[in-house]
Symmetry: C2
């Protein structure tokens, strides 16, 4: 390694990791990996580290530094390269880079610029690069809000314990006036749905004004609580221009919406953090505008990183692409997002801080996409916990017997699992589940 | 085509295009293209278009509709497919979809959700999809602000006419205290630099507080104007949490920063629109967090779309990946971004509105990446106009004779072009240019 490159390397025990965010990249390079990795650090930080004619060096304090580099395949040992036509001339590597917090402070846009900006994606000799993971020192996290409620707070808020939460997307999503929209939501609450939610494509429009919609559903929610003796939640979508988020929060909450959704990346994570400081109710993220940057296997940003950043921004629950053919996501990919919601965000640094717990609360993972009573069990087994939610649309609001029956079918599906009875057997005495099974086959 | 799919098709003259945004996608499907395209529209809009047991249909008013579909290759005629291992079983298509504005209103996060949300990227049978272009009806654009200054306003603001603008990134970017940072910026203005700018990685930090930095550079800028008799601009980076944008604008502008930069996608486009309503000075976009979603050839979002959305959000000038090996961008890709800055945003609808001009001003295109005096000419020839800027770092602030000489070398490079003299010949009598040439070889 030449001495210029050496300035961008450090052993993990030679620098104070409490002052660095750790970025974990996969990359493929056409130049020798230590040189490629050093150049990557340079582009991300001290691109020019001294003035002309001045004896100075900004790198000791301000350079991003390679703390781990593993060559996964070399030109002579091809594995599964991205640039298939050049696989015999590329290295594939994993690199951990310690990025100085002093360069960027605590603001999310600054962190995103450092981790996913021009530097990372336009570094010489690197042709494919994907940010695979990110972790933080406890001190950095202590200065962040993170989820206001978290999983424990959400359970208290909804009164749901010892089972997954049942969200349902009110459908038809687009075009329905607030009154019939209210009516079907009300039916779903009577059937036991925990959270009736706006679709991500329903906004504040003239055919469904936010004020009127939240007022009608807020009233209906309280009626349903009276009737069922159970907490009912209405999750209203406040996605709009960022200077409307707080006004919509205030209108919605005053009207009785008791959870709010933001299409996170379409609106911007820093805007969510602003709303988080203000919110009185739990915040839920929807996963629009994430696939374009996460789904190339060797380029972009891993969805677990986006999930972690959403949690850092303050979401109490995060909907992401879940299991099933339509979501085009591997089991491993879904579980990576689940863990990004629930596990510590300071993995690497834990060794340095004597078991200090993560100061950021866990967020409730909600794998999205085409769920129904029959898909709960495999999800429950895969996640290995009841700390998740499902968010069906059609299984509740397209149930042939209506939304009340649709919601009931979810509870019956869970009861079957809890009792250890096969779904088909349990369905014999439970008509809503029986209809749901035949509707899904 | 079956009748369900037919509900998602319309001839362009059968619907009122003034009520639709037009989305232009490339996609590859494993199912017959009309069926795939109809499903795509359904996922993006009326995913469920009626209540159970009610005779209604939301699709006529609220469905997204295919108005053009071209099959570029069929399973029997493979071309250059994304999923190489399945090329013999995929269709590759271009589709234009008319998306109802009534579904989403005018807010940018809503538009992004519709165009780049769950619906577009998780549609059954579609395995690769890229949003290639977007266009708007004039009525939609009239309700948007767009650039406050635009190219004409920027020329008036900077006093630069009949040539490209010369921006320069003050370097060292990270770690330099405000005083020496001010000194090198001042030198560059004396050499004739139009806009000395903050790097995208310099924020409001304790080693370079925004207040102090903008105050020192604001004063120095006025001094330089006195000394040179020429307008000098300081472009300060206000990238930070969104609730800090307007406070930083107010501090910066009061201190004498007379242009402001935002790392657009890292901060969020809607936050930029909020700043645009408030700003007293031109706004410039930097291109962080765009590559991850734009650079897969058959997946994600084309950079021209992101550029158009940045213009719509209100940027007066937009820095994007330019020519040269480091930027890994084709000439065609760069020119697509240039056009997205300057051409009408209502291309498709123009036929319907009798030559109504585009109500959104053009933004100044700034192709970024490793420019110097010698790279101006090819850019000028490619763009075919002087309406652009270059934004070198090293060519100004790494010039062996200092930033004043670096800035002068850019003017000399332009004068050579203007006079029709080969650069090497012109350099004989112009030392700054001569040094720059040998420094770049």
């Amino acid at each position: 390694m030449n001495s210029e490159d050496q300035a961008f390397f450090a052993k993990a025990d030679q620098i104070d990791l409490s002052e660095y965010v750790v970025l974990d990249y996969f990359f493929e390079s056409s130049v020798e990996p230590t040189h490629a990795a050093a150049h990557l650090c340079q582009e991300q930080s001290t691109a020019q580290w001294k003035r002309v004619g001045v004896d100075e060096d900004m790198r000791p304090l301000h350079a991003a530094k390679v703390i781990d580099l593993v060559v996964e395949c070399m030109p002579s040992q091809p594995c599964i390269p991205f640039m298939v036509e050049h696989w015999d001339r590329l290295w594939a590597c994993r690199v951990k880079i310690a990025y100085p917090i002093r360069n960027i402070g605590r603001a999310l846009p600054n962190l995103i610029t450092a981790a996913c900006g021009e530097g990372a994606f336009f570094s010489p000799g690197i042709h494919a690069i994907k940010l695979q993971d990110i972790s933080f020192p406890p001190g950095y996290l202590e200065a962040q809000e993170g989820p206001k409620f978290g999983i424990a707070g959400l359970r208290e808020w909804t009164g749901v314990h010892n089972r997954p939460l049942f969200f349902g997307v009110i459908k038809p999503n687009i075009g329905l006036a607030p009154e019939p929209f209210r009516d079907i939501a009300y039916e779903s609450w009577l059937g036991g749905l925990d959270v009736a939610k706006d679709d991500e494509l329903i906004f504040d429009t003239d055919w469904s004004p936010f004020d009127k919609r939240t007022r009608l559903l807020g009233e209906a929610r309280l009626d349903a609580e009276q009737k069922t003796g159970k907490k009912c939640c209405y999750l209203a979508n406040v996605t709009d221009e960022v200077d409307r988020l707080i006004p919509l929060h205030d209108i919605g909450v005053a009207n009785g919406a008791n959870m709010l959704m933001v299409n996170a990346m379409a609106t911007g994570l820093s805007a969510v953090r602003m709303l988080r400081k203000h919110t009185e109710v739990p915040l839920v993220a929807h996963f629009d505008f994430i696939a374009p940057m996460t789904r190339s296997p060797y380029y972009g940003v891993h969805s677990r990183v986006i999930t972690k950043l959403q949690r850092l921004a303050g979401f109490d629950a995060i909907i992401f692409a879940g299991m099933g053919a339509r979501m085009k996501t591997t089991r491993g990919g879904v579980l990576a997002d689940v863990k990004a919601c629930t596990e510590t965000l300071c993995a690497l640094q834990r060794e340095h801080t004597a078991d200090a717990p993560c100061p950021i609360k866990p967020a409730l993972p909600i794998p999205g996409g085409s769920q129904w009573a029959g898909s709960i069990e495999s999800l429950y087994r895969d996640i290995g916990s009841t700390d998740f939610a499902i968010v069906p649309g059609r299984a509740v609001f397209g149930h042939p017997q209506g939304p009340k029956a649709g919601a009931a079918s979810l509870h019956q599906g869970w009861e079957a699992i809890r009792s250890g009875v096969p779904l088909a057997d349990y369905a014999r005495d439970h008509e809503e589940l029986r209809v749901s099974i035949s509707h899904n086959h």
